[in-house]
Symmetry: D3
Subunit: 264 residues, 6 copies
């Protein structure tokens, strides 16, 4: 696997992931709307607004795999989400179809299933329950991935990322945390698996508390090695005043499920 | 139930449905992009492009129920589908949220699940398998309906319409046909049910051949009374040269599943 | 099948059922706490408080089948329910065990599953969700029936009766109505089936609106022939002011699910 | 569909079915080990032992569809079953593969699932539970059909025939009866369906008592029109002394499940 | 979490658990019918017969959490079970409802599902199969917990305890053993989880042999750390003469499933 | 457990397994068609063609457990598979029935389910999907085991062996590898479990990549301790040129699923 494209490479996830990918890929093409200036020798930066179809086609041409992190990662207006997450993701898959069908890793989100209650154990067959327009855009992206595989054979893995940060900082993250190390190994597994079809995997470490069962995705040859448990005491030492029936506690999506409409 | 809005009222489905709704509703507001000139005394026409948010809000204000048929009903370019089906449906639900939450009937489509094979019996728990960008827009609409109910309490029924025509005209329609009469009674049931939540129902008559099990939706108090069987001989008399492994025969979506990308 | 015992024979269900059973059984033993004075030639009355173990044993000795309708049929205090429904039903099954294991029809109730929402289609595998202490006593009875079959081989059919009245009188009953005629034919089927094991069946007619799927019980050789639909217009003509999110509309148990604690 | 082969055409099922098939097929090839002498003008008889591979190939060459009824239809020694049912069915499918892949109707049996208890409702996903070496040979045949479709694209429908006789003659048959008329219409549906894949269908009429749910097979465009109910009184008038816990009553396979080993 | 009530605190489980709870709770109220005399500084003893409603209300008032171990823990007469387990548990939940809804840990038992065979893997959706009147009382308790949450919002965790002893002493316990240490950590998890709803969890360590899948309860943030495996050799060294088809070996409930009626 | 019979003891699996069994069994009877000459003191060799019924009966008489490895372990002609795998396995079970019902370990194969795609997670309920006549013979053997238990009480464990070799030698084996050590411990568990019924277990180590969930078989008291992961680098260093849509990559059966008919 020689050339990997990372979209949204300047964001939090992308910055964390770049170094790891650069260590095993021959070369890495980094894309974002703002310039990345600290490229390693096997990295190149290409500025590209994902809403520009032709620019995305040029971006995708010649790569062997795509890590698609680009787009809004929090709630916003319908029009903003539409442009960055729906149109952008469509451009990526459509460009991949025309450019030899490199495998795509699509950064989906737990907010695609955020209206499930926390006492519901989800697996690979659980229905979507978006908690926001943002979450809904991730459902759209997962189904787009499914469609491009069913009809055109573009392989992909949609990863419903929980909370990928250096460490969990609140109670909810004890359940949703995906360690950057686990995320790195997952990305590598996705691009070295003999076959992915159009898979969906929960992006979460081996936390003691969990709502998501990843057994269906064991065929990808990946398991998390990290756990939020070593941060448990630290997190529990923080003030906490949520009640069991607060909407943000009832639902997997946390604050997203509790928030009202994002007014434009 | 006094005032019903029908979007896309000038299309095939709308024209068929108008008369029936006008017979049991106090008044009917008809909307389309092209003018409807033959309004009955209790019908009024309001021209409204669904992509215009403010216009849709004005359209929805004051109604007690919405039959949302508007938008593209066949495959088209991503941008065309985006504008009419995603943006349009969002405007309808958002307007409903602000206007007292009238119940919404959303015209979804079998193309939201068109990549399932025909020997797969679907029910209310079957996963989406869109067969086109059009089908994908219907998945989006169903999930939007779910979201607006989960978060805001807007009730809805998404109807995955098979083929609603005066009579079935080919072999596939023997399975997918929804008679106009059954569609009429379904719409009336939807607006008279004590409660719908965010339901999904297959829009299909009681055909001998069927791929869809509607048992989960019996709580709505509706069953089809019509069947495609009386047209069977007529349909079988037509030339037919599809093979069992033609893509259009393998999949529930028929020709949609077999078609390539709709180039823009 | 010669001799059938009916407990609670003086109540609403019992009075309706007596005549039918007397038409196909050799003889019928009627039991209640208040005397039944209009016995047919092949009926006999035996006064019996179900809380009296020895009296119940005497009541059960010599019968070939038991229709157990006795006990409270609405919510009451814990102690009242305990005595009539738990103790009484235990006495019936324990007496049956000692008296040659006549088959038992146990009158369970939809209130054993009344906290399910109405848009949930239930079947033979659905979990209990009692909506009252009364409903909970019916869960207990069904599990007692299961236990007496698993361990002692006492056969039974637990019938989750919806609303068994001459006709449906409100909207909810359009879904839950069990016609007396259908109830009669069900009882006869239960006692003529080659084998019942410890079955559970929903006691409901073939209504257009329904929340319960009885397919799992087709082995008993019974199907309803009646439907609430012929009363639909009459029921819809009545005033109705419940909202879709009223607790009594949301849940299958109706008013039982909406009621508070029954204070003693 | 012009030319249909029927194996085992001289047996009970075959004799009943021949006339119907001859009415809609251009020509019918009849095969059995003993000669059939009353051929209609569009019927031809070909003697063929199914254990003879070359003879079966010659038999299959040139036909457009195969109704495979041949082989033992009751329990026998392992070697007898092996030769007639395993080897014979293999020869049919292998010949079909080489001869243009005509669609195959395979006469399976309820004895492939005869060790399920009668209070278990089976559907298209229920596991095999053979009740005899005969039943086991039918499991083998169904899996062979699956294999020949998965690997070679030979289409088939395996029919788990209940009891196909002019009328039901005992209590068990009230549940398992398949009327000859329903069997005829099913065969015709199988060969006129646009596609069958490798389907399995229960061969049973619309009886009041039933253990089998055929909903999964509605895509074939067939439903039974007959019912054993009109024979209920006649059957119930016969002496009956089986107990609920007799092995033949407990299990779907009846006497097959209760019988010991067939000694050779 | 400051004040915890433990009922049945003088029994085997209670004695083991007290010390652990006292180490993390501010104060512990111990209740039993016989006096506990060795209270630690943050423990207080309150004698309370669980059948006395007012006494239970006084017992519960002011606590923040309840560990309800009280009642019969083996089979007994119906009346004894009724009084201690049904009435007692009702009093606890009813008192909790009136006293600010402290979270309840309810000591259920594997005997609520003891009639399942050992080769059946159970999970959070498995139906009840009580093996005794004792087991039936635990079904009642779990359903009471469900009811008090559905209707009144009283949170709870029902724990189907396997065998909680210092070490496993026979073959069955190799599968059912819950180490006291694992029980301690589970109790702490139950009272520190952000939300429990009305959960059910199997009370069992991480044994090599197991019949119960606890994945559905991972949202509670607990996993066992102990295993019966280190006692395997010791247990296998004991005489063992049970046959595979002994009722006590066939069923999960062991001897409870094999025992006859407990005569009063 | 004193005397164990191993059939096919001279093959690859048998040779590996013999030593382990000899270490815990009192005595071991080894059977194969070619002589084994290096018997340990507690081993005896008995030459036996499995197609000879009487010889198999003599072989089985007097043993306490049977490890049935004999027969073809790769694809061959129908007649060869028939003789060695169907007839041979039948002789083993039939002999066991007559000889006191020793427990049988049956060496099934992943090729019984080899036509499932690799992104399908299988468990104990997954349907058969044979990828070859060889795989089909293993389906037959598993169903024979089920039948002999249901009707005659012969206990068994069918093991769907992945790839049992000293180490995994290609990418597919990273998922399917069963280490000889894990196989040894599994065999010992099978013969020391209190009860097996007619179980099925996947024969696979704890590999990072896996397609098979063995949770349903935890009641046997076995878990793998080994993993293919330590060979991952070595395997990845080998040339590999399969494409994601090669039939051998798509399906679990690998090359078996991709191969054509084995011509005789």
């Amino acid at each position: 696997m020689s050339k990997i494209l990372i979209t949204g490479a300047g964001g939090g996830l992308g910055t964390s992931l770049r170094k790891s990918v650069a260590s095993w890929a021959d070369s890495v093409r980094l894309s974002d709307v703002t310039e990345i200036t600290d490229c390693a020798p096997n990295e190149e930066f290409v500025a590209c607004p994902l809403g520009d179809k032709d620019a995305v086609q040029a971006l995708v041409d010649g790569v062997d795999g795509i890590v698609h992190l680009g787009g809004m990662s929090i709630e916003d207006t319908f029009e903003t989400i539409l442009d960055s997450n729906l149109r952008g993701t469509y451009h990526i898959f459509e460009a991949a179809r025309k450019a030899g069908k490199p495998r795509v890793m699509f950064a989906s989100s737990n907010h695609a299933i955020g209206f499930h209650t926390r006492d519901t154990e989800l697996n690979g067959d659980s229905p979507f329950r978006p908690d926001s327009l943002y979450g809904l855009s991730k459902c759209y992206g997962e189904l787009l991935a499914r469609y491009y595989y069913d009809k055109f054979g573009v392989e992909s893995v949609s990863v419903r990322i929980g909370s990928c940060f250096p460490e969990p900082v609140d109670r909810r993250m004890l359940a949703t945390w995906l360690s950057p190390t686990d995320f790195d190994s997952m990305i590598q597994a996705i691009f070295s698996a003999p076959r992915t079809g159009a898979a969906m995997i929960y992006g979460v470490s081996d936390n003691l508390e969990t709502w998501w069962n990843n057994d269906h995705a064991r065929f990808l040859g990946w398991k998390p090695r990290d756990s939020s448990d070593r941060f448990r005491e630290k997190v529990y030492a923080k003030p906490y005043d949520l009640k069991p029936d607060d909407l943000a506690v009832v639902h997997q999506g946390g604050g997203f499920a509790a928030a009202g409409h994002f007014e434009d």
